[in-house]
Subunit: 226 residues, 2 copies
Amino acid sequence: MQNCKTCIIRSKAANTLNPNELTILMESCAETTFNPKESIIKEGTLSSHVAYLKSGLAMVSKKGVKGIDQILKIIKPGNYIGLQTVLFEKINQFSVTALEKCVVCFIDNQSFKELISRNTQFANELLIFLCREELTYFDRFVNIHQKQINGRMADIILFFSEEIYNHATSFNIPLSRSDMAAFICTTRESITRAINDLSKTNSIRVSRKKFEILNPEMLKKISEKG
Amino acid sequence: MQNCKTCIIRSKAANTLNPNELTILMESCAETTFNPKESIIKEGTLSSHVAYLKSGLAMVSKKGVKGIDQILKIIKPGNYIGLQTVLFEKINQFSVTALEKCVVCFIDNQSFKELISRNTQFANELLIFLCREELTYFDRFVNIHQKQINGRMADIILFFSEEIYNHATSFNIPLSRSDMAAFICTTRESITRAINDLSKTNSIRVSRKKFEILNPEMLKKISEKG
DNA sequence: TTATCTTTTTGATATATATCACATATGTAA
DNA sequence: TTACATATGTGATATATATCAAAAAGATAA
């Protein structure tokens, strides 16, 4: 059992809870640590808990008709995982896998639902969270289809720089080339070639998983022109 | 002003409201009729209302980097449009266009938010609605990328048959060939060819916008094998 | 009706990217 | 260290689909 009252990485939603409600959360919350590549949630299994990512990065993926896994999104600390299933479906519709060492809190479905009905602010924060996500998908959906591979590769790099690493210019992307391919709907080989192309423009420097942005303007231009 | 108390196509969420709350809804609700191709919500404008589709079909679309509109989803009666923007963004991130004669209720943002905070069941129904949508996108995202055009064309036809027209085998699809292309991320010309291919297998018969499913099993097989 | 505009169809061609096959590098366990 | 597994890189080739161009069919208005 966790002490949610003193948790410093509490969600915006959890911050709306009063002491009583925090006790409910606390008593139904269990913390687990995952190593890289370990499965946090597995597609097709019964869903019994909401997960909350306290630290580390994780990815959400889903199997397609070809049996190939597609990465739907990367999750960063401070976000709920699997809200969809808790509230609506009983079977997990996607897998979640740790990309790094991850600390995850699992909250019992029933208690989570109780918090939603007890506290409208809590529900409201969740609504806002889901709405924000939906808009992100819209963007992603349109981008993936209208940009070609170099543009999409630039997007991965900008995404990790801006969204994940707080505008850092040098960072590690904890994805294999195959993972990146699954993220932007292409192949391992095309990722290699895209990285080569971008490197030739001197907008980035890459060595294995280490990415360095040399010319952000040019990278953004490549991202936009497709 | 509408009489929401006697409205027979009330949303599941609105059904959770008590008489007082229904009065709030009623007093901030205005009904408008749209003709086919008329714009219900325009991307880039300020959002001031939630829309609720009482009758007719509408489509949600978004401009991509190439300036080409991509159709994100088709909306059928009994669904809210633009929840995302009301709760989170101020600027409309997408356009909504009537595909047929549509009756739409516009509910003032403030009142809508008030209903969410007053009634947890109302909020809960909205949460469930958003969760269901998210899962639908996941599916769509993966399908669009792993299936080739004939499979995706089969999906459009099955979608209208099953989701929109209650498993009818003969129906009109109120989309132009270009719209269909924007829906499954391809081109007008490829849609024509896909329809030809499917017709040659005798699984469908098409004349202009009228689609007839002759062999549902075969159509599903085409949808699945990609 | 004819004239004009828009949408759809059809064929020829171009092209971005997937696929395949193999080489090379990297990581890991004995 | 060696041996083996896994991940990545590279070149050659295939292919699904986009693009282009022009014809045909429908829709609309005078």
